[in-house]
Symmetry: D2
Subunit: 461 residues, 4 copies
Amino acid sequence: MKREIKEACGVFGIYDLDGNSVSNTIYYALLSLQHRGQESCGIAVSNTNLDEKNIKCYKDMGLVSQVFNKEILKKLEGNLGIGHVRYSTTGESIKENAQPLALNYIKGTLAVAHNGNLINTKILKENLQKNGAIFHTTIDSEVIAYYIAKERVRSDSIEAAISKTMKIIKGAYSLIISSPQKLIGVRDPHGFKPLCLGKKDNSYILSSETCTLDTIGATFIRNVEPGEIITISKDGIESNKENVISESRRGRCIFEYIYFAREDSYIDNISVYKARFKAGEFLAEDSYVDADLVVGVPNSGNIGAKGYAKRSNIPFTEAFVKNSYIGRTFIKPEQSERTIAVKIKLNVLKEVVKDKRIILIDDSIVRGTTIKEIINLLKEAGAKEIHIRISSPPFICPCYFGIDVPKKDELITFNHDKEAIRKIIGSDSLEYLKVERLPQIVDGLKICNGCFTGKYPIRIK
Amino acid sequence: MKREIKEACGVFGIYDLDGNSVSNTIYYALLSLQHRGQESCGIAVSNTNLDEKNIKCYKDMGLVSQVFNKEILKKLEGNLGIGHVRYSTTGESIKENAQPLALNYIKGTLAVAHNGNLINTKILKENLQKNGAIFHTTIDSEVIAYYIAKERVRSDSIEAAISKTMKIIKGAYSLIISSPQKLIGVRDPHGFKPLCLGKKDNSYILSSETCTLDTIGATFIRNVEPGEIITISKDGIESNKENVISESRRGRCIFEYIYFAREDSYIDNISVYKARFKAGEFLAEDSYVDADLVVGVPNSGNIGAKGYAKRSNIPFTEAFVKNSYIGRTFIKPEQSERTIAVKIKLNVLKEVVKDKRIILIDDSIVRGTTIKEIINLLKEAGAKEIHIRISSPPFICPCYFGIDVPKKDELITFNHDKEAIRKIIGSDSLEYLKVERLPQIVDGLKICNGCFTGKYPIRIK
Amino acid sequence: MKREIKEACGVFGIYDLDGNSVSNTIYYALLSLQHRGQESCGIAVSNTNLDEKNIKCYKDMGLVSQVFNKEILKKLEGNLGIGHVRYSTTGESIKENAQPLALNYIKGTLAVAHNGNLINTKILKENLQKNGAIFHTTIDSEVIAYYIAKERVRSDSIEAAISKTMKIIKGAYSLIISSPQKLIGVRDPHGFKPLCLGKKDNSYILSSETCTLDTIGATFIRNVEPGEIITISKDGIESNKENVISESRRGRCIFEYIYFAREDSYIDNISVYKARFKAGEFLAEDSYVDADLVVGVPNSGNIGAKGYAKRSNIPFTEAFVKNSYIGRTFIKPEQSERTIAVKIKLNVLKEVVKDKRIILIDDSIVRGTTIKEIINLLKEAGAKEIHIRISSPPFICPCYFGIDVPKKDELITFNHDKEAIRKIIGSDSLEYLKVERLPQIVDGLKICNGCFTGKYPIRIK
Amino acid sequence: MKREIKEACGVFGIYDLDGNSVSNTIYYALLSLQHRGQESCGIAVSNTNLDEKNIKCYKDMGLVSQVFNKEILKKLEGNLGIGHVRYSTTGESIKENAQPLALNYIKGTLAVAHNGNLINTKILKENLQKNGAIFHTTIDSEVIAYYIAKERVRSDSIEAAISKTMKIIKGAYSLIISSPQKLIGVRDPHGFKPLCLGKKDNSYILSSETCTLDTIGATFIRNVEPGEIITISKDGIESNKENVISESRRGRCIFEYIYFAREDSYIDNISVYKARFKAGEFLAEDSYVDADLVVGVPNSGNIGAKGYAKRSNIPFTEAFVKNSYIGRTFIKPEQSERTIAVKIKLNVLKEVVKDKRIILIDDSIVRGTTIKEIINLLKEAGAKEIHIRISSPPFICPCYFGIDVPKKDELITFNHDKEAIRKIIGSDSLEYLKVERLPQIVDGLKICNGCFTGKYPIRIK
């Protein structure tokens, strides 16, 4: 149902060494990353074959399919380009904060797209302002760009400037940068945010998720390593690993696997689908209950439900019909028509759930209002028992690295114990995935699960 | 995937005897009927409490959520109203042909919403023109309205005029009509198109499908009987059954069950979900093949796939991820980017299908291009075998009653035998539901299956 | 300034005998008639060379330049077409009432554009409804079309049907009609509304005003005579004068000369510019006052002011600057910012008016609020005396023939005598054009000046 | 007619010391400055009463009445604000280059609106980039803002930083700047661009032109002196004159008087209306010709024509009707319909010009195409003789200070002598205002007339 936890961004970059225009490909790539940010989006392109390095950039509030049209894409000619979809975490939700940032600096043009969140922005910004800097936006990305430009003055290469900048900025960042003749990918040393490399014909591609490679018909080459700077130029791929740290200190965001990434993506070689399926299996193992059907909250709980079904040997089915014509411009029902609000979007297949004992799976529980309404719909349709299983642990701590979890007082898991929540939402039972299962769903990969534990890979002052 | 066969219309009407405004309810009801027509839509309302009977009508090309906004709905005040969603079958796809028709005639106002197709329009229209009639539209509904107005001059009641009109017009029609103090539902004697009656508080409701009743929180009362005229006025419900014929001569459109209606609707008391599930079961019974997984073409084949899975004991799963951010304004890829076109909308879960023998279910096969592309995607993702099972028989004849099947030369089933089609689409096997199974999926209800057999309930000259 | 009295409509028709598309020409023609109606507009075209006579019609609320764009015009291919601009007098201001009406009747297609107002619509409509007619709109034009269609059944030609219809309908009408192979112009016997004939290359043209002919580069041939039916077909021009009455009974609307028509038009061979200029001259003759400057209210009073200046030998000048960037979407100032409202649109040239005695001319006085504000502006800018001269008599009666004068209680001239008005608006003197001068400004042409006298050419029940 | 020479910008600022919201006033002010730039516009506001100094800024491509609506203005709450209308001279015509610039710097917020053009931008920009600066736009204004921010770090006040910046930047600039608690106006030492100070209630106002003060009902206080920095804070007005130079070295743009400014404005106390009127008078004196009428090209030549008429004693009249409904979205006629293009916008009053010898005045001649078309129209309408008088000298040199004169090869005056031009445009005679008359039309004020002479107040490398 409605996504209550929000991701910062999705980033994409492409360099066509044969000189073909890349704006259409960026458009389709951004469509495949739209789930990572629905607030604003943008594309910046340049042409490596021209002497004058001009960046053409277009960005606005809205979905990719709303912001761009044929004429706009036509004007964005160029063989080197980057794209961005955004949901605001730092910086307000205004046009000026849309990305990519397209800039001029000492070496010509610079475009920057950023996914993640720094934790030392304030001090960095003050340092720059003390030297006369002016800021057009309130986003971290401008601070990063400034440091790169500043370091570039006394560095031999853009990569050297980026490498120095990485020693200064702290936090989560996957960056895609285009400079006059190069496409550059950067991933923070802890590897919070995903970034992968692909190829199609004679184009190199960087993207937040592998599902983009499938969409545009590209081949996956490898993941950008946490701490790595990867450069694509007409001379091919180069890698700078100065800032790489040991695997033991890394902390990939577990929430990408549980919630954000698209299920057909692989993040650091782990299938998102499989991680969610396993979470369902572990739930079945740890919190079995006898029932007639396993059902997922559409669409977030479906994969977990299939895992639970498989391990428990209780049949999986779909119990809901979603109205696919609602759209964004849809007029929300008044408060007094609150029950209509859910039913417009979702109807229960009575045929399926009547007189049945149901295990209902969702991937997380935030405010508890959605699950409560769905439980209600099932009851109205004649379900006999409803057992809730959540394929992640309860949220108890904030995220400092780019995930917008609601404030503590809006988090039902922060204020109530399990039994209290069960009563509020009206289910017959309620269980969560255990925290110790988290590493297991990603085959033991080093993760950050701070939002469930309060323990983060970087110290937060 | 893309709907290649198109329905004419969805109709809705409501009369709030307590005098409350109904425009918001009509809006939500039309959203629940949007699958029946996405070309244009409209709402016409009047106020039974005012002396001057004025119809306010607003209609335009586009989806319900695009055409209407808060201000427009606010202007549509009234306690008696009807609504319509349309895909053009007769009449061109132009603004003028949008429905409802809002008219003035001898007794004041008349609004008409129509689902279906007449087969004697031409002669009816000529008869009217010989008496000086002028037509503003090219749709059947105007002809019907004209006859009702004409008969009304020499009839005691609007119902009598409608009843006389029913003896003249031939074909499929579910009509909802509002006259100054009445809401009237009419269903043709053969019962081609669905129409049901519901109630919410002190409002009576008529709708093409029962899913609308769920959406707006109303209770199902009963279906309008084929041939019946049902009148809702401040004196309650009245029924005129002059034109009712015997059940044996009826012919409900089987395609409503197979394809058009929403799976959570019940048409003439038969669950659409169950009909599709049974079609899958019969397919498994009649055309079993050994495999690892049963998969549906999203979303049209999913229910049939579950039926097949249950009967065959081969596990059902979902194998595709749909991009839910594509939208209508999305820029279609050029011909040269044809492969991208499918992949933008759909990606395969490699994790699920790799090295598997797959039974792929869809509800129909029209041009064969979509299923071919999906088979391709599965093969690319590593599926070992792909067996196609279609939960309806092959199309071999036109529909004269309001379903827009492509022309014969575009129908792959018309030009090719099963083996030829199998080769074209590239599957390992291909089987259809048998024609004799059709009555069984609707518990023996009298149906029209003319598009599969060439035999229609009414003689076509 | 703001037009407070509103005209019904402007009409245009063109038949290109060489078969070229006429939609662009209609577009430019409608732009030249936009002053006659700014509420809605439309174009209907057909192709005389095709067997199937299909009318393509597009109309919507808004200005010509807002409603039409290149794509829409491209779809309106055809060599025979009519156009309409509308301000509603009868019929509400809704999309359905936009014109032209495009209809099908016994002989194929029929498109109708109408300027004027009937006075026996009610009874005509009842007669039709008693025979089963249905009405889609609330405009007179549909009634006229219905009668033509009805009479056509028993007439040998469309002209015969129109001629019979003219004997039935009463009031003001200039009609342009396209039937499958003909373009037809009709003017009511009294000649209330203008209509002229022109030619360009091998195209014949009908238009409300001659300024259209200048705009599209056509040559004026002659006016359509009051009561005449003029037919343009591939055989050339034919004329039917069955309904022509004697000149003595005619009554051209004097307000076309004073106010509505564009100053570069000639109506029934009388120059609108000259009529207004003369009105100014007569004012000077009848109501001279000594002063330093003659100034017009922009732009409505400028021509009268020049006439006054010439006769009085007091120099004419412009004293105002208009802001030409305000536009329709401009946010109106709140009530509290009322003084800003005028000043945004108009500023006085202090340089010009300071310490001057000014004669200020306008063409009419309706509510009196505009002139009051302008007098204020002049006073603030230092004008010493302000003498108002209005180049038409005071309104005292309603118009039944298509001019939308405000209701009596909004007309300052109805409620107050001259001295009272002078005090309200704050001028030093106030005089009107004398009623007896009206025929003189149009060289003695027979006119209707009912709004100033209460005497109309047709009896009003 | 169409403006062929384009101005850079209009600027406006207001500080309401009583704390009232100023966004509506800025909106109306920008409407009054719209003639100075129609490409993009923007408003930036802040609230001096809040602790956190946040600038809210909204800007986009388009006219003021298109870019802003009620909701947007509502969101722009604040008692200190600046506004800008723009036509691009430096920097491309893209959204990013719209003004005001809203920035964060060491002391909080900074908004900048700029009218004019620097001549040493390139070197200034390089100096900044060498220190690590990044640029988001390609406009001069960002360079100015950067220098102010940089100097602010080591200055005691924003005024000191601005004063130091003024010593570095070279060229034409009228700046309006808002810093957290101040509204600041700056005019370059040469005084190229206008800037004036006004007051309304307890609000201080800065604007490019005095017509804005009339529009919003404010009182003119004085002009900002060339070289002055004027500061409005809660302590009142302060003035810094460190950069003021002697009057003899100043160079007000003469083109503001001839062409750009609105005729109801006073620039440096000289009436724009009067300057244009005098130009006409001098033309009559220097280039008299016997004729029947003096006519202006609408609307640019009308004031000059009145001056000519007065001095020559030949009557002034208007000879054209402009269609006021054309609008921006109007579909331009194809090349083949070229004659229509003029006639749609303009028609001649034949009544007025037939058989007359006409003196036609315009304020400038650029490509010569417009005047040629107008001469043609007059001839077609029967004018006997047409004598062209231009109330400015011929362009022969570029402007470096913010006026966008077409390229030399598009300037008819650059390529042809007077007689050649006369033949091309088809007039009976042609004369220009003499260069030596220029200072006389502005009462001897020190001006820059470089575009007519090649002599500029600042040396151009």
